[in-house]
Symmetry: C2
Subunit: 266 residues, 2 copies
């Protein structure tokens, strides 16, 4: 049964409505080149778009522009495929040089029948080690994931905070597939300044029962939210997630890698 | 090199900044009981919060309140465990009646060592078939997933559209774990009115190369975005995702279930 509405309630409710989250694309970011200062480029694009960063903003940055700035591009014509790469290429009907690049980026091959699923040196399990031919200039150029995407996130966060004087968190994202569900979702592969996992275990639900197994992958949810405006062909590689409440903390995305002894498929 | 900014550009950019997405929690929803009209309850809560639904809004609704409205609650004291349930309970050190409820909701057991991962009758692979003891009243009561969560979404969408005269999409969400990454994320288990998967294959990237394997699980990204304000203990089971541009279409969440012949671990 609804209680009568008192004016104090109304104010509180009307205010609480504003407690939402905004997902704001940053338009107009120019093509990023090797050696570019990504933080400076992002702030310039924000300025052009009359978008001022605010304390607590989480910047979600597509992996591709970080890889470009860090020079993580490989020309396939420069690659000599190994015997293993030639074997994989024959099996999967793919370019042996591409297979070689993927193997170099991998710690182990998880699956190699109609798709190539590997564990990267970071510990992420994904298709093709994140090696990708889209949105890179040149016909035989591929991009690799940043070498240490958590370190890249920390570096950009530091630069943004120094330039703006505000506490800004950074997530570096890429789109990964999942074993049982179709479609890719945007996930966090690097993070700095925002909790990656939030442990609700021990907290109580509305009926005062303990919530047992609830650890939420917040960084992946933030990346997914940004993914909604980051369609790959729209030229929006940086998105502001504003209004999400969190305690600033250096929590690396690598913490989301499931330990080998808990891996459901090892 | 940055081009000089013309005033027409400025207008366009300043406008495009507003093309963001808002994630708005709906506060003050009362406890939902069996037989409740969920659409009506949601609209009443929106009214109390001075939140008017707008055409194109996607309402993300936590599975739990749908299950309650549909009477999908089971009292464990009423359950007689089968031999299989007793066996699982001994192995996992869990309540045999709970194991029995989970088995009844499952098509197959995927894994049964320290966690119980099953495929539900819907085809979703998740822990404990989504059977859950949190946020349900009563000490030995558990909630089941809606019997047909896509049908539930369609029914609520129809009711909302009838009452508001606006095109509103509905996603029913639950938090699922993932095999290689720690933490749960909010995903879509029912959908109506919004595309679940968007196929970008064949479209071109900024460098006019074809994007190969890109099918985006948009419904899961929307659910994840809503998850950011839907923390389990905060009493926010319904969230508006506003500003996401899509073509209204009846696309069931069950379409995201990876077919058996493409399942990476079958």
């Amino acid at each position: 049964m609804a209680k009568p509405v008192k004016s104090a309630d109304v104010t509180k409710r009307a205010t609480s409505v504003r407690v939402g989250i905004e997902i704001l694309p940053i338009p107009g970011l120019p093509e990023v080149l090797k050696g570019d200062d990504v933080a400076r480029r992002i702030l310039a694009a924000c300025g052009n778009a009359f978008l001022a960063l605010e304390p607590g903003d989480v910047l979600v940055i597509a992996q591709k522009i970080i890889s470009k700035a860090e020079g993580r591009l490989v020309r396939l014509s420069s690659v000599e495929p190994s015997a293993r790469a030639l074997e994989l290429a024959a099996k999967l009907k793919k370019d042996a040089r591409l297979m070689e690049v993927i193997l170099r980026e991998s710690r182990r091959v998880v699956r190699d029948d109609h798709v190539l699923i590997v564990e990267t040196h970071h510990g992420f399990v994904c298709a093709n080690a994140g090696v990708d031919q889209s949105n890179v200039p040149g016909k035989d150029v591929v991009s690799l994931l940043p070498r240490d995407s958590d370190e890249s996130a920390r570096r950009i966060r530091t630069a943004l905070m120094k330039r703006t004087g505000k506490d800004i968190a950074v997530i570096i994202s890429d789109t990964f597939g999942r074993p049982w569900r179709l479609g890719l979702t945007n996930v966090a592969i690097g993070a700095a300044g925002v909790p990656v996992l939030i442990d609700l275990r021990g907290s109580r639900d509305r009926n005062a029962k303990t919530l047992h197994a609830t650890i939420v992958a917040v960084a992946d949810e933030i990346a997914a939210a940004a993914g909604l405006v980051m369609e790959k062909n729209a030229g929006i590689p940086v998105v502001i997630v504003r209004g999400y409440r969190y305690t600033p903390v250096l929590d690396p995305a690598s913490r989301m890698v499931r330990p080998a002894n808990e891996d459901l498929f090892r």
